[in-house]
C-alpha cells in the first residue's frame, strides 16, 4: 500500500511534467514523452557503460584507499598529529576544484577521470575509518591479544559498518564526480552528452541524459544496499533488536 502511494506521487509528478511541457511554447522545456522518446538516441555501449565503468573503477579505488589509509591512521595513534592538519585541509578542498589540476597533470584521459573520482570518493571512507578504528572497543583488542590473534582480525569486522556507511556517501560523490569530470575536456560520456545536447539545443536529449543518470544512480544504490544487507546482516539484526 505504501509502495503504491509512492508510485502514485511519482506518476503525478510525471503527469505535471508532461502537461507543463505541452503547454509551454519556449521549446526549452519539452514534455516527458519527448525526453523518453529521446532515450533511444543514447547508446548504452558508447555513452553509458564507459561512464559507469569509470565511476565504478574510481569508486572501488577510492574506497579501498580510504579504508586502508583510514584504518592505518586510526590504528597508529602516533601518526595522527603529523597527518591530521594536512587531512583536514585536503578534505576541505571541494573535489571539482582539483579537476583543472588533474587535466594538466594527466591529460584529458579516462585515467584522469578515474583518478579524480577516486580522490573524491576516498574521503568519507578515510574519515570514517580513522574515527571508527580509534573507537574500537579496547576489550575486543584484549581478547585478540589473549587469543594470540592479530589485532586486524578484530579491527576490520569492528569498523566494517562505519566503512560501509562511508562508502555509501562515497558512491554518491563518485557519480557526481563522474558527471563533472565528463563536462571538462571530454568527448564522450553521459556528462559530455548532457552538456553537448544543451549547447546544440537538443533539449529533449539533454533531459533524456538526466533521466539515464537518475536511473544509473538508483540502480547502483539498489545494488549497494543488497551487498550491504548481505555483508552486515549481524549489524542490521542487532540494530533491529536494540531498536525494538
Amino acid at each position: 500500500m505504501k509502495r503504491l502511494l509512492g508510485l502514485l506521487v511519482a506518476a503525478l509528478l510525471l503527469l505535471v511534467w508532461e502537461v507543463a511541457g505541452r503547454t509551454g511554447d519556449t521549446g526549452l522545456f519539452p514534455p516527458v514523452s519527448d525526453a523518453i522518446a529521446e532515450l533511444a538516441s543514447i547508446d548504452p555501449w558508447t555513452d553509458v557503460l564507459p561512464s559507469a565503468g569509470r565511476a565504478l573503477a574510481g569508486f572501488a579505488i577510492g574506497v579501498t584507499l580510504g579504508a586502508l589509509l583510514g584504518v592505518t591512521i586510526g590504528w597508529l595513534r602516533g601518526l595522527e598529529p603529523w597527518v591530521r592538519p594536512a587531512l583536514e585541509f585536503l578534505r576541505a578542498v571541494p573535489p571539482p576544484a582539483v579537476l583543472p589540476v588533474a587535466v594538466l597533470a594527466l591529460g584529458a584521459t579516462s585515467g584522469m577521470r578515474i583518478t579524480v573520482i577516486a580522490a573524491a570518493a576516498m574521503w568519507p571512507v578515510l574519515i570514517a575509518g580513522v574515527d571508527a578504528t580509534r573507537a574500537v572497543e579496547p576489550g575486543y583488542l584484549d581478547v585478540a591479544r589473549i587469543s594470540h590473534a592479530r589485532p586486524v582480525s578484530v579491527i576490520l569486522p569492528a569498523v566494517l559498518p562505519a566503512l560501509i556507511a562511508g562508502a555509501r556517501i562515497a558512491l554518491g560523490i563518485a557519480l557526481i564526480m563522474m558527471v563533472i569530470s565528463e563536462m571538462t575536456a571530454a568527448t564522450s560520456g553521459l556528462g559530455y552528452l548532457i552538456l553537448q545536447a544543451q549547447r546544440t539545443y537538443a533539449i529533449a536529449q539533454m533531459y533524456a541524459g538526466i533521466i539515464v543518470l537518475g536511473l544509473l544512480g538508483w540502480l547502483v544504490t539498489a545494488v549497494f544496499s543488497l551487498v550491504e544487507r548481505h555483508v552486515l546482516s549481524w549489524y542490521e539484526d542487532q540494530k533491529g533488536i536494540a531498536g525494538g
Partner: protein, 259 residues
C-alpha cells in the same frame, strides 16, 4: 605450600602516567598459587585489581616485580592462560555467532575439530543448541556463559576472571557462580577470581587474597576452610562463613589496625 606453585608473583608494582600526575595502581603484590587452587582476590573498588589481573595475564607489563607461570617468567601472553573479562558487551564479538566466538581462540585448529571443541564447551556451560545465535540474541547471563565457554575451549591451565558476574542480575549470578566452580573443578583449572563481592569470594574460593586501597598491597591471605560443594543458602548460614566475612570486612575497613 608443599606443591610447586603454578603462579608466583613477587613485588608487583604498576603505575599509570597521566597528563598531570602519575597514579600508582598497585604497590607491592606478592603471592603464590598452587595448581588447581581457586584463589579469590577482593579489595575496595578502584584498588587496582584489574591492573593486577592484566599483569598476571601478560596484557600489561609491571614496572617492578615479576610474574612466574609454571616456573618461567611471564614476558608475553602465556599460551595456557585465558581470561573472562568483566563485561560481555565489550568482549564478545557481535559479528560472530556464539559458536564462532567460542571457536575464536582455537581458530587455527582446523574446522571440524574446532567446531567439535566449541560445541563441547558450549555444552559445558549449558548452551547446547545456541551455537548459531548471535550474542545480541542471548540474555546477559547467556552471553557471559558464552564468554566462559570461550575461555575454557582452549583447555587453559590458568583461568583469570575479572569480576565476571558484575553485569548480571542476582539470581543469574548465583547460578553462574555454581557453574563456574563445577566446570573449573571438572577441568582441574587453576582459577584467579577478581571480585568486589566478599561473599562471592568466600563461596567460590579455596583462599582469599585481601588487597588494600590504591596503591594496593596484600593485606591478608584468608584460607577458606568450608566443605564443598558449597550451597548458596546453606553455606552462607554457617557460622564459619560469617566469621570469614567479618574478618575480611574488618581488614578492608581498618587496614592499619587489623591484627
Amino acid at each position: 605450600m608443599a606443591e610447586t606453585p603454578l603462579v608466583r608473583a613477587a613485588g608487583l608494582g604498576k603505575s599509570f602516567r597521566g597528563r598531570r600526575s602519575t597514579t600508582q595502581a598497585i604497590a607491592d603484590i606478592g603471592f603464590e598459587q598452587a595448581p588447581g587452587e581457586f584463589l579469590g582476590v577482593v579489595g575496595p573498588s578502584g584498588c587496582g585489581k584489574t591492573t593486577l589481573l592484566r599483569c598476571l595475564a601478560g596484557l600489561e607489563r609491571p614496572d617492578t616485580g615479576t610474574v612466574e607461570f609454571d616456573g618461567r617468567p611471564v614476558t608475553g601472553i602465556p599460551d595456557a592462560v585465558s581470561v573472562v573479562f568483566q563485561d560481555y558487551h565489550r568482549s564478545l564479538f557481535p559479528w560472530l555467532t556464539a559458536g564462532e566466538n567460542v571457536r575464536f581462540p582455537i581458530r587455527d585448529r582446523g574446522r571440524a575439530a574446532g567446531r567439535e571443541q566449541a560445541r563441547e564447551a558450549l555444552d559445558r556451560v549449558g548452551l547446547a543448541g545456541f551455537a548459531d545465535h548471535h550474542p545480541f540474541q542471548l540474555s546477559g547471563g547467556m552471553q557471559q556463559r558464552v564468554a566462559i565457554a570461550r575461555a575454557i575451549v582452549s583447555r587453559p591451565r590458568f583461568l583469570l576472571m575479572d569480576e565476571p558476574f558484575a553485569s548480571v542480575d542476582a539470581q543469574t549470578r548465583a547460578v553462574l557462580e555454581q557453574l563456574t566452580v563445577t566446570i573449573t573443578a571438572e577441568l582441574g583449572l587453576t582459577v584467579l577470581l577478581i571480585t568486589h563481592d566478599i561473599d562471592e569470594a568466600i563461596l567460590m574460593a579455596d583462599r582469599v587474597l585481601v588487597l588494600s586501597a590504591r596503591p594496593s598491597r596484600v593485606l591478608r591471605e584468608v584460607p577458606i576452610d568450608l566443605d564443598r560443594p558449597r550451597d548458596e543458602v546453606e553455606t552462607r548460614a554457617l557460622p564459619l562463613f560469617q566469621d570469614y566475612r567479618r574478618e575480611i570486612h574488618r581488614v578492608i575497613a581498618n587496614p592499619g589496625t587489623a591484627d
